[in-house]
């Protein structure tokens, strides 16, 4: 990197294309793990609620 930060972000005139590609990819690779985590949380809370309900019915 000899031309500093602004030259780096300019990507030799290809800024829109390079950052448009890397940006969207990064976004998806952040969002997907978050969704996977939420799914796990939802599954765990639903199942523990079900089990609690069952044990309350028994007693």
């Amino acid at each position: 990197m000899k031309g500093g930060l602004s030259e780096f972000f300019a990507m030799g005139g290809y800024a829109l294309y390079v950052w448009g590609s890397f940006g969207v990819t990064a976004l998806l690779m952040v969002v997907e793990p978050i969704m996977v985590r939420q799914r796990r949380k939802a599954a765990i809370s639903r199942i523990s609620r079900l089990i609690r309900l069952k044990s309350e019915q028994k007693s």
Partner: protein, 245 residues
């Protein structure tokens, strides 16, 4: 001899998947850091495409993963149909969203690469069209699984769709050879080796392994949720520490 069928039981696979996913996460983070650094600071400017070519470092790994994940899903679908194992259908289901995302990334970065180099975001070229069909196959599989309430029937219908759709994979791969396309031919092949410079190739391979590790991690974390959802009445699930809290 290790009994591979032991791990086809969701109860034994659940903790194993967690361990592999954790290791893969670290590998993915590490390789992504190295790969991104190399993509921008080590790999030289291309003599023809300037800095614009750097899209290759995500485009090619994503495109490879999009095809590879589909083949793995079709493999699990086949195993599920033959051996009637529950876990294989869950694996196929867990891989589908990641495969769809990889396909989307391949198409998206392809458009962002095509625009400056070819002058068009999209052309109805054999390579691009067959990759788009792959995207629809993923979406169709996910929609089909969601539309059928009975898990067993959904698994079987999904497996048939996956196995029929697998014909599309060689079409994508060989499309640049079979038809006259705008898309360039393979830069890396088993037969001819690589036509890229070594450092560019190394960067691309590191990014490929990073995407690989990412896909393994995220789909194994997902399969754990699918296992929990499907096996919610099983005793071993109710005894898990995360459930008993």
């Amino acid at each position: 001899m290790v009994n591979i069928f032991k791990f086809s039981s969701p109860a034994t696979f659940y903790p194993l998947a967690g361990k592999i996913a954790r290791v893969s996460t670290w590998i993915a983070v590490l390789l992504l850091a190295v790969g991104l650094y190399m993509s921008f600071f080590v790999a030289p400017t291309d003599y023809k495409q300037g800095e614009g070519y750097r899209i290759i470092f995500i485009h090619v790994p994503a495109a490879w993963m999009s095809m590879f994940i589909y083949v793995v899903m079709a493999f699990w679908a086949g195993v599920g149909l033959v051996f009637n194992t529950r876990l294989s259908a869950m694996m196929a289901q867990a891989l589908a969203p990641t495969g769809a995302i990889m396909t989307f990334i391949a198409l998206w970065t392809g458009a962002f690469w095509g625009k400056p180099m070819w002058g068009a975001w999209w052309v109805w070229d054999a390579r691009l069209t067959s990759e788009l069909i792959l995207f629809f196959l993923y979406i169709g599989f996910i929609a089909l699984q969601g539309a059928i309430d009975d898990n067993r029937r959904a698994d079987r219908a999904g497996a048939v769709l996956l196995l029929v759709g697998v014909v599309n994979i060689p079409i994508i791969y060989f499309s640049v050879k079979w038809w006259n396309t705008l898309h360039q031919g393979a830069s890396v092949s088993i037969k001819n080796g690589s036509s890229m410079s070594t450092i560019m190739l190394q960067t691309m391979l590191i990014m490929t392994f990073a995407f690989w590790a990412y896909s393994i991690a995220v789909s194994l974390y997902r399969v754990r949720s699918i296992i929990l959802e499907r096996e919610k009445d099983a005793r071993w699930v109710s005894e898990l520490p995360e459930i008993r809290r």
